[in-house]
Amino acid sequence: MSVFSSSAARPWLLSGPALALFASLLVTPIVMTVLLSFREFSFYGGISDTLGLSNYIEILGDGYFYEIFLRTFLIALGTTVLCVLLGVPEAYFIHRMGPLWRSMMLLVVLGPLLISVVVRTLGWAILLGNKGVINDLLTRMELIERPLKMMYTSGGIVLALTHVMIPFMILAVWASLQRQDPDSERAAESLGAGPVTVFLRVVLPQCVPGILSGSLIVFSLSASAFATPAILGGRRVKVVSTTVYDEFLNTLNWPLGAAIAVLLLVSIMTIMVAWTRLVERRHGEALQ
């Protein structure tokens, strides 16, 4: 009984079940993966019991992996930039709409989240393929002679990922717009600012926290996305997650796959932390 009455122990007791679930479902696999990444693999002997850095040495010494990592982050960066460019104005337009339109447009924005990513990506495959809808249309209109190559390109992946990720950006920016004092726009207007100036000088700067958190979500989800690059990139445009998948399921080199996965995790986290630091330093006082 005394355990329950002690107020210091109570929070731990109450959050205990959730913590246990969290530990067993999230921490355990990560620890296992990290451990696995230090083991060695030989084609005939399978996974050895000895620990070593051989997988990391192999990855860091091979330009092939650098290329894959670089491509992954460029795709994630491109997706993030597109999401900011499209998502921020879209969130602002929705914010300015009347209540009826606003709820309808929010539904339109969030609706796709209810559909599986695989289904949506297959939809893009139908659009982007060599005999896909877009190429078909352009050919029939005689605007192009040979089909544009859009499937199995980084550009195609960025396009489809943007579609998948943009709701997260809109939601994040929308939340920071909701926190703004609507009178601050009117105040700027009364001081002589036109609509564009109001947006650029008053609305946008106040959205920076939302854009920042939206970018973090979009970037990390895009960098670790699997279904979209797997379907639209296939074997030809490999990204880190599809490479890990291949190591695990085709080459059966689990330790190497684990090492790549660990490197992806570490590099995404490094980029996120650095990005947050950078923005916090620049906007520190104003955005606390």
Partner: protein, 353 residues
């Protein structure tokens, strides 16, 4: 020749009439308060002048210009919003300088004028702070500085003091008076606080349900309310329903609950009337001088004054007495009341709409 001229201003939201046939003239340099209970259309009126709401009908002339033809951003009015609406990502100096920047004032002059404005609102020491790191009163001054620095022809204030606590509100009230005196700008203040309106303004305009009921100096409005609503809204009042019996050259007589009382000179047709009597005009006297006697039912101590409720044959009367540091009547005691006939005010019976 008035500086700001509002004529028959009307705003309807669908079926709701927020402002109805509102006409008001304001002279240059004058400080006018729009006073009224919540939802009576004060903000709507101000927003129409500011240009954020389009009037359904009516005209607004400022210094000879038709305001309706000018978009909000070109009207050049200084506006202080109820929430202050400061730009949270800008420093105090950037907030105040924003309007000058929009007017493309050269940097050196801008700096000088921002410094002047901050001086006026006593904030020169906080130039580089961000609004989040400031108190309510300081934010309010930033908002004032930002509105005044563009040297507006008209300053519009929407309940600028309502978010402050009572002590700060009193201080800022004095500040606002000082700033108005120094800047000399024509000012329209919206408030539902009658003390604030009376303390600050040259004239108060009392609104009720979208209509303007009375425009007068604070003293005239308090002493000569045109309706029981205004009498009750500007300070405390006792309202008694009675029958006006006769009016003469020197006064009038009316009846209430079987008692016949003398009233002031009145020009009403004999019949049902409302009689208003301010609580501070009732004196406690000896039994033989009393117009009416009653039993104290409640006594409230307010520091500088006492408030009594007294049950009398006329009905319940509220009485205010200055605290002179003496013993005052306790609940249950009998008190004798008297007043001068000219302190009564006879008003027509309010028609409930």
């Amino acid at each position: 020749m008035s500086f700001l001229d509002l004529r028959s201003l009307t705003k309807r939201f669908g079926d709701i009439s927020a402002v109805e046939d509102f006409s008001l003239s304001v002279a240059k340099g004058e400080f006018v308060s729009l006073l009224g209970p919540s939802g009576c259309g004060k903000t709507t009126t101000l927003q129409m002048i500011a240009g954020f709401i389009n009037p359904t009908s009516g005209s607004m002339i400022l210094n000879g210009k038709n305001l309706a033809a000018i978009p909000a951003r070109a009207r050049g009015l200084g506006i202080v919003f109820q929430t202050y609406a400061l730009f949270p990502h800008m420093t105090v100096a950037e907030n105040v300088g924003f309007g000058l920047e929009m007017r493309k004032v050269p940097k050196a002059e801008r700096k000088r004028r921002v410094a002047e404005a901050l001086d006026l609102v006593h904030l020169s020491h906080l130039t580089d702070r961000h609004p989040q790191a400031m108190s309510g009163g300081q934010r309010q001054r930033v908002a004032l500085g930002r509105a005044l620095v563009i040297q507006p022809e008209l300053l519009l204030l929407d309940e600028p003091l309502s978010n402050l606590d009572a002590k700060l509100r009193d201080e800022m009230r004095l500040e606002l008076r000082r700033i108005h005196k120094e800047a000399g700008v024509t000012t329209l203040l919206v408030t539902h606080d009658q003390d604030e309106a009376m303390a600050l303004s040259d004239r108060v305009a009392v609104m009720r349900q979208g209509r303007l009921e009375q425009v007068d100096t604070p003293f005239e409005a308090y002493e000569g309310p045109r309706s029981t609503f205004i009498s009750g809204f500007l300070g405390k009042t006792n309202t008694l329903r009675g029958d006006l019996l006769e009016t003469t050259e020197s006064g009038s007589r009316f009846r209430r609950e079987g008692l016949i009382l003398d009233g002031p000179v009145a020009h009403h047709i004999p019949g049902p009337v409302e009689v208003c009597l301010r609580p501070e005009r009732i004196d406690l006297v000896e039994a033989d001088e009393a117009l009416v006697s009653g039993i104290v039912s409640e006594r409230i101590f307010l520091g500088n004054q006492w408030l009594f409720r007294v049950d009398t044959p006329l009905g319940e009367l509220m009485i205010c007495r200055r605290n002179r540091g003496r013993r005052e009547a306790e609940p249950g005691e009998t008190v004798h009341l008297s007043w001068k006939p000219e302190h009564l005010r006879i008003l027509p019976v309010e028609v409930q709409g």
